[in-house]
């Protein structure tokens, strides 16, 4: 089911949270809303779900304007950042909740409900936890139960608010891949909110980069990384260096997009080595350039010739690699 967001604006008091947002999400797509906190991404997600109503604009599901529809009639699955599992219900009852809330004529029998719940718990690989209470589960388990609960009512759209935000790094990586695989299998139109660019790049088909209530760029992970539409997107999608060019403005480049040399070379700028950090496969060198307070970071493979015998305080020559440059005034 496709989602169209048309001219959506939202204001909380004096604060303009969303400013004329337009976005088309194709059926079956997995889209990430990426941005720093306070950029409006969660509000946009809640507006799609119907948890928040926009001041202006409309939400269209598969050609049908659902702006006026009650949250129950949108048939949307929603996974909250802190999962919002019903704390007084067992895992089984949590997952069964949506089925039991259906009007009498549509409601499946308890046997059918049980079968469905166990099927879902099997899918999230937690069938053995059916009788536990949410407080007895780990963060990752809660997250998967929240997902099973959202999927029980067979939504056409799945929305996830910072789905991995509350998990520790290792569990987060596992669940990320698992979610991407799951999306392949069930093929729902899915939108998730995140502030972690790595997460967005790894999981999403398309990334919507947001800042201060507006969309900065929409594109495939490669696109937004390689061809950022603005300085903001460039900064947000990875580490970046800014090199001042006097009156002409500055250029931006990523730490690994650099050429280093011990001797002066054409187009290379001279810098002083401030720090050398071996980080496994690569080594990071921090450089101080004349006439600029901001330090430059360069990352090269650890066997790079320029690193041989390099000491703090040594001079080093660098040049942002061609093709990676982004000028701005």
């Amino acid at each position: 089911m496709s989602i169209e967001i048309r001219n959506v604006s939202k204001r909380f008091g004096a604060f303009q949270v969303l400013n004329d947002i337009n976005l088309d999400i194709r059926s079956g797509e997995l889209v990430a809303l990426l941005g720093p906190s306070g950029c409006g991404k969660t509000t946009l997600l809640r507006i799609i779900a119907g948890l928040e109503s926009p001041d202006q604009g409309s939400i269209v599901f598969h050609g049908e304007d659902v702006s006026g529809h009650d949250v129950r009639d949108r048939n949307v699955g929603f996974v909250f950042q802190h999962y919002a599992l019903f704390r007084h219900m067992t895992v089984f009852d949590n997952v069964a909740f949506g089925l039991r809330m259906k009007p009498k004529r549509e409601r499946p029998s308890e046997t059918q409900i049980a079968a469905k719940v166990h099927e879902l718990l099997g899918m999230v690989q937690l069938d053995w936890l059916a009788d536990r209470y949410p407080e007895q589960l780990s963060g990752g388990q809660r997250q998967r139960i929240a997902l099973a609960r959202a999927l029980a009512v067979e939504p056409k759209i799945l929305l996830l608010d910072e789905p991995f935000g509350a998990l520790d790094a290792k569990v987060r990586k596992e669940l990320r891949r698992w979610l991407a695989r799951l999306h392949e299998e069930i093929n729902l139109t899915s939108v998730f909110v995140t502030h972690d660019q790595e997460e967005a790049m790894e999981v999403a088909d398309r990334i919507v980069v947001m800042n201060k209530g507006v969309i900065e760029q929409i594109g495939h992970p490669g696109e937004v990384y390689e061809q950022p539409a603005s300085d903001f997107v460039y900064h947000f999608l990875g580490d970046s260096n800014r090199l001042q060019l006097g009156d002409e403005g500055h250029i931006l480049f990523r730490p690994h997009e650099v050429s280093l040399a011990r001797e002066p070379l054409a187009e290379h700028r001279r810098a002083e080595v401030r720090d050398i950090r071996p980080l496994g496969a690569i080594t990071r060198v921090t450089l101080k350039v004349e006439g600029q307070g901001e330090l430059i970071e360069a990352e090269v493979v650890k066997s790079h010739a320029s690193l041989l015998g390099l000491q703090r305080g040594d001079p080093l020559y660098f040049r942002p690699a061609a093709g990676s440059l982004r000028s701005a005034s």
Binding site: F12, G50, L51, S53, D70, Q81
Partner: protein, 272 residues
């Protein structure tokens, strides 16, 4: 992240409407009626009523005993809160549970029990008699009764705050060379003071208005041991509704001014 009003949670109009109507009918309109009734008096009439010696004596007695009782509770309440939070000893749970007894026990029962205890012939009163002074039927007895009924306030406001102060803070102070009393004075006291003041104010307000537990032990001698709420009662019994209303308004106003002062004091402490 805390969210603003969510449009999917129904019932705002219904619950707010019900709340306002219920409060309005039961609390606000009746209280307002008292002020309307008092407004029929001229200032000089009002002044004549509230400046009568008997009223002033009762005013002094009510606020004075309530203040002293609140102070006593400030001390023993803090002691109890400290002991209950910081020490594990036999009987701790019983004491903790029984602290609330004065709230659960009807005040009339407390009143007659304390009177029986502190009357000159009573279990404790006879010792006082031997020493040549009286407890019941004096301001001392009133203060004791008020201390009893308001005992839980300070304990219950200080207790949770004390429990939340991390032990590390005190340990850090001790490592910096502070002695136990210095730690208490400079580290714990400032943290506890706002809660302590809240408990004090609650106890004080309750003490000023308290009726049931006091009238038995007070002796109710005009000018000597007659509290303000009793004086309202006396005026009502004489069908002097205007007099009762004037005293009621006086009581409410003085209480609110005092509570406001405590509130301001509290704010000054919290924002140095």
């Amino acid at each position: 992240m805390s969210r603003r009003t969510s449009p999917v949670i129904p019932g705002f109009g219904l619950t707010l409407g019900y709340t306002l109507v219920y409060l309005g009918l039961l609390v606000l309109i009746p209280l307002g009626a008292m002020f309307v009734h008092a407004a029929q008096l001229t200032w000089s009439d009002f002044w004549a009523i509230v400046s009568a010696p008997r009223v002033l004596a009762a005013l002094k007695l009510s606020f004075g005993t309530a203040f002293v009782a609140a102070l006593i509770n400030g001390l023993i309440g803090t002691l109890l809160a400290w002991v209950l939070v910081r020490y594990r000893f036999s009987g701790r749970r019983i004491i903790d549970a029984m602290i609330d007894l004065p709230f659960a026990l009807p005040t009339a029962v407390a009143g007659i029990a304390l009177t029986a205890l502190y009357a000159p012939s009573g279990l404790v009163g006879q010792f006082a008699s031997d020493l040549g002074f009286k407890i019941a039927y004096t301001p001392l007895g009133i203060t004791l009764a008020l201390t009893f009924v308001t005992l839980p306030f300070v304990v219950r406001t200080v207790q949770p705050v004390l429990a939340d102060i991390p032990r590390e803070v005190e340990e850090a102070a001790a490592c910096l060379g502070a002695r136990p009393l210095q730690v208490f004075r400079h580290v714990l006291l400032p943290a506890l003071l706002p809660a302590w003041l809240t408990g004090f104010a609650l106890a004080f307000a309750r003490g000023v208005g308290e009726y049931g537990s006091v009238i038995f032990i007070a002796g109710n001698m005009p000018m000597k041991t007659e509290i303000l709420p009793l004086l309202i009662m006396v005026k009502l019994d004489q069908y002097d509704y205007t007099g009762a209303t004037a005293i009621g308004v006086l009581m409410l106003v003085v209480s609110f001014v005092l509570l406001l002062l405590v509130n301001l004091l509290q704010r000054r402490i919290e924002t140095p």
